[in-house]
């Protein structure tokens, strides 16, 4: 054997194209799940039952995409018997798609709340906070999918900082709901829905971070505990020290 074995050949191999194709398929599934969250929030915000129903109807398709990804990834594992970065990518994709499925399910769950017709519009400050939360959370999911597809660790790492911001907004929403509940106990059902949606958005952000963790693992082999200091668990209404 002669020459530098690490020199790029200039021609992508079928194998590399297969890995890229799997990543693209996963990112498309993530995009589908993200749209369910986007529409789930809008349906809740606007009390749009028709939109809510359309999201509920998409759940079957989400399951189908999840199954398809699982089959395609297992076929890749069986037929290609990958090692190192390719093995890590396949293993990461299997986990990632579970998190994407959860993202879509959280959109679905927001729609189940919205069909009760108790939206946030009567509490403008809370609504503005949730609106902002939804924007950040959606951008996080999009960024996690870009990180996966483009193989960018920087995009993935940046999400952990944004997750702290979402956690902070969720705690703020809880505080505002408690304050409003004191003033207007009759609005309890509507306010409970707001807390639920806030919690669902916060969980979407967590799943975006999980997708990012798997991207970092696929690219570097590093697991979360190796690059992020472990934080003690705390109660949801507790501010970080």
């Amino acid at each position: 054997m002669t020459g530098d074995p690490l020199a790029p050949t200039g021609t992508p191999r079928g194998y590399d194209l297969e890995v890229q194709h799997l990543k693209q398929r996963a990112a498309r599934m993530g995009g589908f799940a993200l749209q369910m969250v986007h529409d789930g929030w809008r349906a809740f915000d606007q009390g749009d039952r028709q939109l809510a129903q359309s999201v509920l109807d998409r759940n079957e398709m989400l399951d189908h995409l999840d199954d398809e990804m699982e089959h395609a990834t297992i076929a890749f594992l069986v037929l290609r018997q990958p090692a190192a970065v390719d093995l890590r990518t396949a293993a990461a994709l299997l986990k990632m798609t579970t998190h994407m499925d959860r993202v879509g399910r959280l959109g679905y769950d927001m729609c189940r709340i919205s069909t009760s017709g108790k939206g946030p519009r009567e509490s403008p400050q809370l609504r503005a906070l949730l609106q902002r939360m939804d924007e950040v959370v959606e951008s996080m999911v999009r960024q996690s999918l870009d990180g996966l597809e483009q193989g960018r660790i920087d995009l993935a790492r940046d999400l952990f900082r944004q997750d702290d911001e979402v956690d902070r907004m969720h705690r703020e929403a809880q505080r505002m709901v408690i304050a409003e509940l004191g003033k207007n106990p009759a609005a309890a059902a509507r306010l409970a829905n707001i807390v639920l949606v806030s919690r669902h958005l916060e969980r979407v952000a967590d799943n975006a971070c999980k997708i990012a963790e798997k991207t970092i693992y696929a690219l570097t082999g590093q697991r979360r505990a190796e690059y992020l200091p472990r934080r003690p668990p705390r109660f949801l209404n507790e501010d970080p020290v």
Partner: protein
């Protein structure tokens, strides 16, 4: 990569092996732990077979071949010992099964005993049966140990060769691509056997088949152009190699 002296069976220390002026193995240092399977992988011509042939002093039997550095077996330099004694303590199984074609199954397994000592027949019988059992062949040949070795299938012949090596009561068993001439079923049997053998022996296996290394080995060494590139726990080497060269090889990007 290193372990303490107590858990090292073979310590390869700055070993280089030459064919005339050509260096086939270049300054390799490696600690092989006892009662484990260590695999050596790498592309053709990387020096992996040459390296293991230095571990029982077979390399130096070739004209013009020589070795620099040392190999310590339980702390003793092999190159200070009698080569015949070394080859009894460090047995070897080759790529193609090589039973003595004119001998019976019994004759093959007892050959090392007959060459090396005047042993009572009962003792010889006991060792032959024990070796065939350890090589997972006894159940298939117990009724025909007088049959010619060549009447066995390829996979059985390879296990016969393993039994023959075990009869000499080695401490280390070297295997140079022991399954490359076998079908998947015979390969699976040998791999199962390797897992059993490591309870009593230290096994070093050279293989082209990375999946085989992943299946059988506790530790794996990757060699390239005569040099040791990386050595570590098999799981780590295949999931998260430290060296870019290892990564490129095991993901099929060269080699």
């Amino acid at each position: 990569m290193n372990t303490d002296a107590g858990s090292v069976k073979l310590a390869i220390d700055h070993l280089s092996a030459y064919y005339g002026t050509v260096r086939g193995v270049e300054d390799v240092s490696l600690r092989i732990p006892p009662q484990q399977v260590t695999a050596i992988i790498g592309p053709s011509g990387c020096g992996k077979s040459t390296l293991i042939r230095c571990l029982n002093r077979l390399h130096e039997t070739l004209p013009g071949a020589r070795v620099e550095g040392q190999v310590l077996l339980d702390g003793e330099n092999l190159y200070d010992l009698d080569p015949t004694l070394v080859r009894r303590r460090v047995g070897m199984v080759f790529q193609k099964p090589n039973p003595f074609a004119t001998m019976s199954i019994y004759g093959n397994v007892s050959a090392p005993l007959r060459f090396n000592s005047r042993m009572p027949r009962e003792e010889m019988d006991r060792i032959v049966v024990q070796s065939l059992k350890r090589a997972a062949l006894w159940d298939e040949v117990r009724d025909r140990t007088d049959a010619p070795a060549t009447s066995l299938s390829g996979g059985q012949q390879q296990r016969l060769c393993i039994a023959r090596s075990l009869a000499a009561d080695p401490e280390v068993l070297l295997m140079d691509e022991p399954c490359s001439a076998l079908d998947p079923i015979a390969t699976a049997k040998i791999e199962e056997l390797i897992a059993q053998l490591k309870k009593d022996y230290t096994v070093v296996i050279v293989t082209h088949n990375m999946q085989q290394a992943a299946r059988v080995a506790d530790s794996t060494a990757f060699m390239y152009l005569g040099k040791l590139v990386e050595f570590g726990p098999t799981e780590q080497l295949f999931e998260r190699p430290r060296e870019r060269l290892t990564e490129a090889y095991i993901t099929g990007r060269f080699g």
